[in-house]
């Protein structure tokens, strides 16, 4: 691929999703865009680049962006964040929100749905403590394709074996041919919506907990800062932000501070209730 075409595709992906494609990612770009070019009846990436330059077709630009997003995910990924949510964050929120009995959780860049469904199963397991509570899990992604898969809740044998405890699989899944489908009662707990993290997020409303894990790693520094700043505006002042193991707010955004002793969890730098727990 010539450098002009690489620049063209890289600019499209960066301006529309924030994902930064460095020169060493040229193989990734080729492996993901060649199938897209073929689906559209083109022989090469040069043809695809030419098509983009000529027509700037909105749908094609979206497809290019979606093809470059990474959708690696699995149930209860890394375990520990879910333990912290269940053992530290949730008990505190059940205490501080006991008057309004309402909890809002946002799963940003949810990919194919394993993370929001993990949270939904976890909350279902804790249902005895939450009688009469209104719980909303909002899950968003930039890709319509992964959102459709999320909504269907259908997973392969390989996918259900990565991170999902067998007891939960027996309890919340049905076998559909060679696939496994998550129970409708769990699917109903999650609302899926297309959302680009670079857009204004304020219309999503305020959240008590935000899972934004393994997303920032794909952004450059200014984009990380911008996204975190937006996230801060829609998280409750005593809420909890969960980031991925390789991600941090330090040196990027002063609005959040780490929750001491709870790796990967952040709270508002001012009034962060969780910080008091140590």
């Amino acid at each position: 691929m010539n450098s002009q075409d690489f620049q063209l595709f890289g600019d499209i992906v960066r301006t529309r999703s924030g994902l930064v494609l460095t020169e060493e990612k040229v193989y990734l770009l080729e492996s993901r865009l060649v199938p897209l070019a073929r689906r559209r009846g083109m022989d090469s990436l040069e043809d695809l680049a030419e098509e983009v330059r000529r027509h700037r077709d909105e749908r094609l630009l979206s497809e290019i962006t979606e093809a470059m997003t990474t959708n690696e995910t699995f149930f209860f990924r890394d375990n520990k964040p879910f333990d912290i949510f269940r053992e530290v964050v949730l008990p505190q929120l059940l205490e501080t929100r006991r008057a309004q009995k309402s909890l809002r959780i946002w799963n940003a860049a949810c990919s194919t749905g394993q993370e929001p469904y993990s949270l939904a199963m976890l909350l279902k397991e804790e249902a005895a403590k939450m009688a009469g509570w209104r719980v909303e899990i909002m899950a968003t992604d930039i890709s319509d394709e992964v959102l459709e898969k999320s909504k269907a809740g259908l997973y392969s044998q390989f996918e259900v074996q990565r991170g999902l405890p067998i007891q939960l699989m027996v309890k919340y899944f049905q076998q559909v041919g060679e696939m496994w489908q998550i129970d409708s009662s769990i699917r109903a707990m999650v609302k899926f919506q297309n959302k680009n993290l670079l857009e204004d997020l304020s219309n999503l409303g305020k959240f008590d907990v935000i899972f934004c894990r393994n997303v920032l790693i794909y952004f450059d520094q200014p984009t990380k800062s911008k996204v975190l700043s937006q996230v801060h505006k829609i998280i409750a002042s005593d809420g909890a932000l969960f980031l991925g193991g390789a991600e941090t707010v330090l040196g990027i955004c002063d609005d959040f501070k780490p929750v001491e002793g709870q790796r990967g969890v952040y709270t508002s730098a001012i009034n962060g209730m969780l910080a008091k727990t140590g």
């Binding site: 044998q157 990565r162 405890p165």
Partner: protein
Amino acid sequence: MPSCLIVDDSKVVRMVARRILEDLKFGIVEAEDGKSALDSCLEEMPDVILLDWNMPVMNGIDFLRTLRKSQGGEDPVVIFCTTENDMAHIREAISAGANEYIMKPFDRAIIEAKFSQVGVI
């Protein structure tokens, strides 16, 4: 070093599982059926058992039921690893005392995920 007993009548499956689990720093013992596995457990109880279902002499589910009734047989973490990939078999395994369940074919990612879930790595 934690120990893992691999019980499977397929030599190839035992070899593949052994390679993965040795990388995960397990000491490996092998058995090719449930009866040999029981003999091995009576000699020395392993920390983890990776267990096939369909085997000659004694199958996996009969082995597990006998193991759980034996002295010290409650202790090992038992992870089924079988081509029986339907809900009825999974439920039967859990009620017999299995801690986890792997549906074949498996790969390194699945083994690591399941062993991590039950807290042995």
